[in-house]
Symmetry: C2
């Protein structure tokens, strides 16, 4: 930064400026199921074939696919005069719905909820408060009141959080040696993906997911397998939950 080269042609400014275009190309390709289709097909497909299968416009589809190639989310093969698209390894692993490491749900949450809230970032900085009201017509000082405005929205958020923990959870849990702790509380444990990673990394531990009653109900119903005996739940409501930012392990020493 600040080198003569940067000052002549501010590459970094263009990169930042175009960031939202890149995000939306990725989100839209996920949402339309481009990566799922190419995984299922088992062979590269033409742009027209992809558009026909997804029910999307041929010209819009071709432009989206080419943008994905530029971002190395798709690869392109030219055979016999035809142009065919296929997933890259990283797309198969992280951008298809069926992959255990799928980031599909967090992408959808970012694309449909967070992106629109951030349209009002200037107002947020002026006013010092969240912008769910401008974005979605929901008046709530508590962001979780807005985020959990319906069971559907809550499910989307919890699935999104689980997507992230499926990648980062193991590293976070291994950053400190938690093996001396027999019983671990995950404050605001949501959909339970971190708890599941935890009982896997520390086989002698049990984990209690502490969260709002409605979150616990959804976690039990949708996310945490009932046969997982080492994960239990604690319904509650406390200020601590609101202050939770990133990692929320509250550890209790059990001799």
């Amino acid at each position: 930064m600040g080198s003569t080269e940067d000052l002549d042609y501010p590459q970094i400014i263009f990169q930042y400026t175009n960031g939202f275009l890149v995000s939306k190309v990725l989100f839209t390709a996920c949402e339309l199921g481009v990566f799922d289709l190419l995984l299922e097909s088992g062979e590269p497909l033409s742009s027209d074939a992809i558009a026909a299968r997804l029910g999307t416009s041929p010209s819009g589809t071709e432009r989206l696919l080419d943008a994905c190639v530029g971002l190395k989310l798709l690869a392109v093969e030219v055979t016999g005069g035809g142009v065919y698209y296929r997933n890259t390894e990283i797309s198969n692993l992280y951008l298809t719905k069926s992959s255990p490491k799928s980031q599909y749900h967090i992408m959808m949450y970012y694309s449909n909820t967070v992106y629109l809230c951030w349209h009002y970032l200037t107002d947020a900085v002026r006013e010092g408060r969240n912008q769910y009201e401008r974005a979605f017509g929901i008046s709530s000082i508590d962001p979780f009141g807005a985020m959990y405005r319906s069971e559907e929205e809550m499910l989307k958020f919890m699935a999104g959080q689980n997507s992230i923990w499926s990648i980062c959870g193991r590293d976070v849990l291994a950053a400190f040696d938690l093996s001396p702790f027999r019983h671990i509380y995950d404050l605001g444990g949501g959909g339970g993906a971190l708890a599941q990673e935890c009982v896997s990394v520390y086989p002698n531990s049990t984990v209690t997911i502490y969260d709002l009653p409605k979150v616990v109900q959804v976690a039990k119903e949708w996310f945490v397998p009932s046969e997982e005996r080492r994960i239990t739940f604690h319904e509650g409501k406390c200020q601590l939950l609101r202050r939770r930012v990133l990692v929320s392990c509250w550890l209790t020493w059990q001799q």
Copy 2:
């Protein structure tokens, strides 16, 4: 891409996902006048001083400033227990309104118009058409009909395009030797920044800006100095303008 390291922890996916957050931090800092204030003050300022001068919330301002430090758009100095922010060189040059190379206008166009249109990218790919109707309630097949829906909007777009040409114009014009051409038409020349670069790079040339009548009027009034005799205008309306994508020099050979 596709290396083992990428596959274990898909840095590039996170980078793409977060792209829109980075864009909006940059746009909002520009819109609120953070970089202008720090240029004018001539000395580093605390977060509270910046919030007071801009009339923004202290907590929101501090978080925005720290995000800008992370992006190297601001630098931070810790003196006598206080934390003070100052512009980086690149911010002084490209993000302040008064700089000849200011990107302020294109940032505002991207932030307030393009960002919201791109919220509907999935619909755009499905339908194969622009999304001004969903974003702004404007029904127009012709994107310029929507972009130029008022003189104010047209001015913003033209100022934005001029911002870009102030950085890229010279390189585009020098990529080919245009010195044999005495008279150059700039199809869809808009606010005229490319034309102005052109008569500077090729001192023996004259340039005619060809654009819609209302664009020409605004260009004459706001952007192109009337004393610049080597730039003339041609009002017109043709399909070619709609097909213009990036570089639009239509060259006519004049012996």
